[in-house]
Amino acid sequence: MVFKRNQPDTLASGKLSLIRHATQHVLVSEYFVLILTIVYFLIVWAFVPWIGNRSNLMNILARVWPLLAAAVGQTFVLIVAGIDLSQVAVMAVTSVVGTSLITESVNPILFEGNPIWGVLITEQGGILAGHPAGVPIAIIVVLLIGMAIGLINGTAIAVFRMPAFVVTLVSMMFFGAFAIFLTYSENIMNIPAGYTGIAMERLGPISASLLISVLLAVVAYMILGRSILGRWMYAVGLNPRTARVSGVPTRGVLIFVYTFSGFCAAVAGILMTARLQVGRPVAGGLDTMLQIIGANVIGGMSLMGGKGKVQWTVFGVVFFVVLQNSVDQMNLDTFVVRIVLGFAILMAALLDVARNRMAGSLAQTPSPTVGAGT
């Protein structure tokens, strides 16, 4: 494919156009963020040798899973041109409820008189403590709560057509305060191994968190790429009116997407709590929310809806965690992290703008397709 340019026909320019052509193909390809991450990691490795050792790689992976679980839910919401700021609050509520159900012992002085005393917790610890199927039941309850909060958001947005930004912002604040209210800000200790084991690396980096998170990503990929629901989501994201006329249950799709986002946040809450081995009513706050959305944006998600894939989000999350880990390893000020992350987000956005423009011009040539769905 020759670029019609009015440049002299010397050999050098031939090579030059080859390089430019190659970089353009890289820019346009879907795996750009992954390539950037790998190249970036190699550069850092040259300067900071211990970043490559086993335990650091394990740390990086361990940080990916909770963030990925939540980010996948956010991807679905972004595809239908929505946004879900309440995921952090879902993590907090589920962390508190999940652990209080199964905690083996609790300091009564701290817990007496708070709202869950006698409801979820008694003198002997959580009401499910010691129960053979205690942990699985707790996990199911946690997932249901996540979905319930997602359902509330979805209904407000789909049925009453309230703006997604404000609805999920207010539910973030409300449920965030609710989590603290449940235990009057006390953390919950003594969580049985069955629950904390989820984050335990057993053979090599493999841990239940890894499996759960990857499974969630695969399910999301199948839904988005292969199922009716996925196609409906793209259609609702790009043109809700045409979708409605074509018989797509637009309200149903929206409600599903926000419920799924709540579900993913609950999964992320479980993975985080397991890793920290403590039930905390404050799970990350605004920073974690910015990370989830930042990872999606770096992955290539457009806020306009209708554009995006699960694998892009995976690449975005990996890039995000590698970046954060590398800056930590360099013992740089953590304030620098914010500047670098902000810069990375702007770079990703600029490349996205360039990609669309180039993809437009490259559309005639059979390059890998970019943009919406299959």
Binding site: F160, P163, V167, M173, Y184, V297, F335, G342, L346, A349
Partner: protein, 333 residues
């Protein structure tokens, strides 16, 4: 003759005002002192910073964009104010304009990212949010900064019982109410927000208008930062983190739409800005238990947004033109 329809119309247009009044009465009945004029002045004082931010956000929302970087802008303004006042030791009347320049530059950066480099506003301002806060923290080594009495003394300057921060807010709201309703730039902003393509076809300088919105929003955020410096006297590292979310909520409560073209400073944005501080103050007056206070507040905010969206839907239904009505007006059958 007040017909049922007229009352219904009024209610439909002024839901925020009615909700505001209802809450005021409820809190008043539970804690009579809440109805005193000085308590209302306290609410105005508490919402002076949020009000100025809400005006800036309303401008950006009008053009169909969004600005997440207000909190970092305010913090950075405080940091440069600190450098000018405490390090370079410049007098207050130089430090304040100097600090405002920072906000202006911040808004200009947002404007370039959105209008020149065509980045989606949410993403552009998310990037500057992080970079702005990071820069501020690097300068202060994330240690909280104090402002001299020469600056904080301004807060007690009062005129006819209205304190300076409140005066600044009301002045900003009046000024921009006029800008939006009485100047060409203002009306063109509504046009760009309503239909960007048509605005370009009609020969309006759309990029300049949108850029103007972001620059003004940056300047107003910076002014809110200066007001906060005088009010609080001290900024710790996470000062105003997340406040932009409240400013957006305030603008939406005031009737602004996230899709552009709709939104009024008075009474809309003013009422929206007073809503949250009023509820917060009411809950303190009533003495709601400390753990329930935040939940009750956000439940009320959710209710307010819910009522506002019902209002918008009803208005839309009434606006939809009918075939038969035209006939009644039109030629005889």
């Amino acid at each position: 003759m007040i017909t049922r329809n007229k009352v219904y119309n009024f209610a439909l247009n002024q839901t925020t005002l009615l909700l505001f009044a209802a809450l005021f009465v409820i809190f008043g009945s539970l804690a009579p002192r809440f109805l005193s004029p000085s308590s209302f002045q306290g609410i105005l004082y508490a919402s002076s910073t949020l009000g100025i931010m809400a005006v800036g956000i309303t401008l950006v929302l009008l053009t169909g964009g969004i600005d997440l970087s207000l909190g970092s802008n305010m913090y950075l303004t405080g940091v440069f104010g600190h450098l000018l006042l405490n390090v370079v030791e410049v007098p207050v009347w130089i430090a304040i304009p100097g600090a405002l320049m920072v906000g202006l530059a911040y808004g200009a950066l947002n404007a370039v990212l959105v209008t020149r480099l065509k980045i989606v506003p949410f993403v552009a301002t998310l990037g500057t949010l992080l970079m702005g806060r990071g820069l501020g923290l690097v300068i202060t080594r994330s240690i909280s900064i104090d402002f001299p009495d020469s600056l904080t003394g301004l807060r007690n300057v009062a005129f006819l019982g209205i304190r300076l921060p409140v005066m600044v807010m009301l002045a900003v709201m009046l000024l921009f109410h006029f800008v939006l309703t009485r100047t060409q730039f203002g009306r063109q902003m509504y046009a760009v927000g309503n239909n960007g393509e048509a605005a370009a076809k009609a020969g309006l300088r759309t990029t300049r208008i949108v850029a103007g919105a972001y620059v003004l929003c940056g300047l107003l955020a910076s002014l809110a930062g200066v007001v906060a410096m005088t009010r609080l006297g001290r900024f710790n590292p996470n000062f105003a983190a997340g406040d932009e979310l409240f400013a957006i909520a305030a603008a939406v409560l005031g009737g602004a739409s996230l899709f552009g073209g709709i939104g009024v400073i008075l009474p809309g944005t003013l009422l929206g800005a007073l809503m949250i501080p009023m509820v917060r103050s009411g809950l303190v007056f009533v003495g709601v238990d400390i753990y329930r206070e935040r939940m009750v507040m956000f439940a009320i905010v959710f209710l307010a947004v819910f009522i506002d969206s019902i209002r918008k839907e009803q208005m839309e239904k009434r606006e939809r033109r009918t075939i038969m009505k035209v006939d009644v007006e039109g030629e005889s059958r």
